[in-house]
């Protein structure tokens, strides 16, 4: 199964995870400061900055796009509860 390396910049930890894992599943285990609310992509609580490797993540859904836009989040932000890692190296600001 393909794997991805997700690095939490502030926490100093890189986690090697199976492709398809959602970012929030990793961050809450790592203890990074990403907080979640609804876990359904609606509340915007888990907006997270992706430092690099966005191309290795799942496409934004229409709902995620809408929530990010409503929260004035830039193109380098994702909802951790929605974004899945697909492979390669990804660095997250948390």
């Amino acid at each position: 199964m393909p794997k991805a390396n997700v690095t939490f910049e502030k926490t100093g930890l890189t986690v090697n995870v199976p492709a398809g894992t959602r970012l929030i599943e990793i961050s809450e285990k790592v203890g990074a400061s990403i907080t979640y609310g609804c876990r359904e992509g609606e509340c915007g609580t888990c907006i997270t900055k992706i430092v690099s490797g966005q191309e290795h993540m799942s496409e934004r859904s229409v709902l995620e796009d809408k929530v990010l836009q409503e929260n004035m989040a830039g193109r380098d932000h994702r909802l951790a509860c929605q974004a899945q890692v697909l492979g390669g190296d990804i660095v997250v600001k948390a």
Partner: protein, 425 residues
């Protein structure tokens, strides 16, 4: 006391048309008031239009419309400015929009969400504004300043450029009800001003400083907030007070390159105290970290809130009693909503007799407060062994290393991470 006033002219062409709520003793559950509050709304008349700045709580809409009608006709209203969409300022908005359908709405980008939640109309039209944007009323210009998170994401301030009048929303406001309205006429409201800052603005200290940088250069003649007295006497002094309140109480001896770690504990038999001492020792073994050790038993939580606001990391030691962390720990943790703690480093440890749930509970609370909790806490059954005290020293050392950035960059698999994250056995 003075009777409720009609619309009150606060400057040529500009009237207060808000509402008084003298019976209110508790605001939004969390705030006490000594004599109620006011919901301040304003009407600005220019040579080419009339603007309404904010509205009032829905329960006080009648009072607001009565005052509005004393100074303007609905068909004259060209502009409605929404500095803040909280219900106590937007309650009368749907009815105002119905009575003045031609009026254009101006609000911040973040306010769009709340506007749509407040006014459930499919064809809602509005204009998003930010710092630098303005609206002309002919001989009056309304200029907008984005001041987010004071105290909601949507908040902004609006200036009448020609007159130096700032409609500041909740900033510089307070819950104080006095029909004499102006700061040089009302009773002594200084405690309300300070209390309001501490409970409403303090968690957003960095945003307060950003807003002050934007507003301090303005030559203001008057500040017209959305609650409490209108500040026409020495308005700049209220900004200066905000700057003082947003600055640390005491000079911190810790230099820019030194990090601060606070270790709090409470201990019934001295066991959690031993662990706290070991955590502190471990942290002190690293250079560049100032470690402070505090017993929660004999202290109230408020001074500690001030210390935590300035700290980089906090660790809590609690015994488990009846399956829970103890009340002084929860009291302090529940007080942290008053300050910004996001991204600080957090950890937990403690001694227990039978079950030992306190550590996980504290860690969950710290995560809920958006702290980083990357190191699994340490717990020990009754009297910690030397090995367990070594684990506490290691916890302290790792906390210190995280604070100084001297952490070993590790790669771990998800399987290992999940195994490590299993609840304490």
């Amino acid at each position: 006391m003075t009777r409720a006033p009609d619309a009150v002219e606060i400057a040529p062409g500009t009237h207060w048309i808000g509402a008084l709520d003298p019976a209110l003793r508790e605001f939004d559950i969390i705030l006490k008031t000594a004599n109620g509050t006011t919901y301040n709304s304003y009407c600005v008349r220019g040579s080419e239009g009339v603007a309404i700045i904010d509205t009032v709580k829905a329960s006080h809409a009648g009072e607001f419309f009565n005052r509005l009608e004393q100074v303007a006709r609905y068909d004259e209203i060209s502009t409605i400015v929404l500095n803040h969409l909280e219900p106590d300022h937007s309650g009368a908005l749907p009815e105002l929009m119905r009575r003045a359908p031609q009026a254009k709405l101006y609000l911040s980008a973040k306010a769009q969400l709340m506007l749509k939640a407040r006014v459930k109309t499919a064809d809602l039209e509005y204009t998003v504004v930010q710092t630098g944007d303005h609206v002309s009323l002919g001989d009056r210009t309304l200029r907008f300043f984005s001041t987010p998170f004071l105290h909601w994401p949507d908040t902004q301030c609006t200036l009448i450029e020609e007159q130096g009048i700032l409609f500041s929303g909740d900033v510089f406001g307070c819950h104080f009800c006095d029909a004499r309205l102006f700061n040089d006429k009302v009773g002594d409201f200084r405690f309300s001003f300070e209390y309001y800052y501490q409970h409403i603005m303090r968690p957003f200290r960095e945003h307060v400083l950003d807003a002050l940088a934007l507003l301090e250069p303005l030559e203001l003649k008057l500040i017209a907030p959305a609650h409490g007295p209108i500040l026409r006497d020495a308005p700049q002094s209220y900004m200066q007070r905000y700057r003082q309140l947003a600055s640390p109480l005491l000079h911190n001896e810790v230099g820019a390159n030194t990090k601060s770690l606070l270790v709090f504990y409470i201990s019934s038999y001295g066991n959690t105290a031993l662990m706290a001492q070991a955590v502190a020792e471990g942290a002190e073994s690293e250079d560049g970290v100032r470690v402070s050790l505090y017993d929660l038993q004999s202290s109230g939580d408020l001074p500690f809130v001030d210390l935590i606001e300035e700290a980089d990391g906090i660790a809590f030691g609690s015994p488990t009693i009846n399956g829970d962390a103890v009340k002084p720990v929860w009291d302090l943790l529940s007080s942290l909503a008053l300050i910004k703690v996001r991204d600080k480093l957090g950890a937990a440890f403690g001694s227990y007799g039978w079950s030992g749930e306190a550590i996980n509970m504290i860690e969950d609370r710290l995560r809920g407060l958006k702290l980083r909790v990357p190191i699994k806490g340490v717990r020990a059954r009754l009297i910690p062994t030397e090995e367990e005290l070594d684990k506490c020293r290691d916890l302290g050392k790792q906390l210190a290393q995280h604070l100084t950035g001297n952490i070993e960059r590790r790669i771990i698999s998800m399987t290992e991470l999940l195994a490590q994250e299993q609840p304490h056995a």
